[in-house]
């Protein structure tokens, strides 16, 4: 039986789709897991674009939910990576085109055949969000180091807790260590202090994300990308490995130590 993980945020544009694409690809590529990524952002689909699979869409999630096609017909196999599939969203419909019950059914069906089902959630807390979480077992919340994004993430954590999600995990995206150091950006401690949830990983601001997004090649597969490395670490953590937080050059060691402690790891005395 697979696991359904929803990737959500509250605020738009913080990196949900980027995170879904990279974690999905990473779990298939490095974890050798059977993975399907579901684009639940109906009407604003772009997971297919980020994955470079746009031109292969025939049927979509709305078609499956409404019984217009079989599940297999809508799933797109990513030929570059074994075991990686995409369920695209419909672009010409809106969030009301499927119900939370239909989403739950879809997830339950996918769970039978896949190890990981990653749901790329739309922004907001309305119907689209409710659809995205309906069939999920776990949640990953993405935020950027901005007060408004963290505020929205906090709102989402509250809503998830109220819906019975036990321990949502946090991804901090687009962190710029130089700015944090100058005191111009919230630091990781500030964010964890407020959100009080466990950190899955921190992704630095990285131009390569923009390049890889435009090319439809997830950065996780690029050994030279720092963001890609952060995603590879997250993949390992999802698979249950203890991977220390990626040392970012500009952070003082005590900070890394704090993070290590946060993960219950021993602080290295090196």
């Amino acid at each position: 039986m697979g696991e359904v993980i929803v990737i959500t945020s509250g605020k738009g544009g913080v990196g949900k789709t980027t995170t879904t694409a990279n974690l999905g690809t990473g779990l298939a590529l490095y974890g050798k897991k059977k993975v399907v990524m579901v684009d639940a952002d109906i009407g604003l689909r772009n997971l297919d674009v980020v994955m470079g699979l746009e031109n292969r869409i025939v049927y979509d999630l709305v078609d499956v939910a409404n019984g217009m096609c079989r599940m297999k017909q809508a799933l797109i196999k990513d030929k570059r990576f074994d075991n990686l599939y995409l369920m695209p969203a419909a672009q010409t419909k809106d969030k009301t085109a499927v119900t939370p019950e239909q989403m739950k059914k879809l997830c339950d069906d996918l769970k039978k055949d896949y190890d990981y089902i990653l749901i790329d959630s739309p922004a907001g807390i309305e119907r689209g969000f409710k659809n995205a979480i309906a069939g999920a077992d776990k949640a990953i919340i993405v935020t950027t180091p901005e007060v408004s994004a963290v505020r929205d993430a906090d709102r989402i954590v509250g809503l998830l807790e109220a819906s019975g999600f036990e321990e949502p995990k946090l991804v901090i995206n687009r962190l710029r260590p130089d700015m944090v150091k100058r005191g111009d950006m919230m630091d990781i401690d500030d964010m964890i202090d407020i959100l009080a949830i466990e950190l899955l990983g921190v992704v630095p601001e990285d131009e390569k994300i923009v390049v890889s997004t435009n090319r439809g090649e997830p950065a996780v597969a690029d050994e030279t990308s720092r963001a890609g490395k952060a995603y590879r670490n997250m993949v390992s953590r999802i698979l249950g490995e203890d991977v220390p937080l990626m040392p970012m050059e500009n952070f003082e060691p005590s900070f890394i130590d704090k993070l290590r402690m946060f993960f219950g790891l021993k602080v290295r005395t090196r």
């Binding site: 709102r155 954590v157 807790e161 407020i194 009080a196």
Partner: protein, 218 residues
């Protein structure tokens, strides 16, 4: 200003004929006027329905009940009080001669919550609220009694919401976006000086909210 809204909400859609009760928003709070010769069961039902429809909009409001001719029995008033209490409202001592007098709300009721109060979440309670955790920015805690936060208070807190000027807000770390005690509102100063790393208490002194180190309570 709030009172204007109250009136609008309450009278919207209410036919003016033969209502057994009239609910009015006034400067002091809300006044419920029970018409002469009305059947108590109807009165109860109408009040309940109106409050039901208004959600917890009135939570923390002071309520005065006036019975024309004083034709309500004491146990009937007790029943009304029960309804009002359930909606987080408190009966007040009334000044009008035709009004029965009720005791002040009981402050010994305590709500203890062991969790983080997050953005968008609101806690309304008739009594004292104790949070074993943080109250985050964008959250609201409204209590007719005191508010005690054993973590960091970063959201809005309104103590003494039914008018109790002796109510306090205390927190392990007091960093609220806004504080209210009774009907006094205060914001932290614009020039964000370093917040002190010790517990603090906010209370009313001469109608101004003052914040002191927790030790000063002793």
């Amino acid at each position: 200003m709030k009172n204007k809204i109250l009136v609008a909400v309450l009278f919207g859609g209410i036919g003016m004929t033969n209502e057994p009760v009239i609910i009015k928003g006034t400067k002091e709070g809300i006044t419920i006027v029970v018409e002469e010769n009305s059947n108590f069961e109807d009165v109860k039902k109408v009040i309940y329905e109106k409050l039901q429809n208004s959600g917890n909009f009135f939570a923390g409001a002071k309520v005065f009940v006036k019975a024309k001719n004083g034709n309500l029995k004491e146990d009937e008033f007790n029943k009304l009080q029960e309804i009002l209490t359930n909606f987080g409202m408190s009966l007040q001592e009334a000044q009008s001669p035709k009004t029965l007098i009720f005791p002040k709300p009981n402050r010994s009721r305590v709500l203890i919550l062991k969790k983080t109060i997050r953005s968008g979440q609101k806690i309304s309670y008739r009594g004292t609220v104790v949070i074993l955790g943080d109250a985050n920015p964008g959250s609201e805690i409204v209590a007719t009694g005191d508010i005690l936060v054993l973590g960091t208070l970063r959201g809005m807190a309104h103590a003494g919401a039914a008018g109790d000027t002796t109510a306090i807000v205390a927190a392990y770390r007091l960093r609220p976006t806004q504080l209210r005690i009774a009907d006094v509102i205060s914001r932290p100063p614009e020039d964000k000086e370093e917040s002190p790393p010790f517990p603090e208490v906010a209370r009313l002194k001469d109608n101004i909210i003052v914040i002191e180190p927790y030790n000063a309570l002793k």
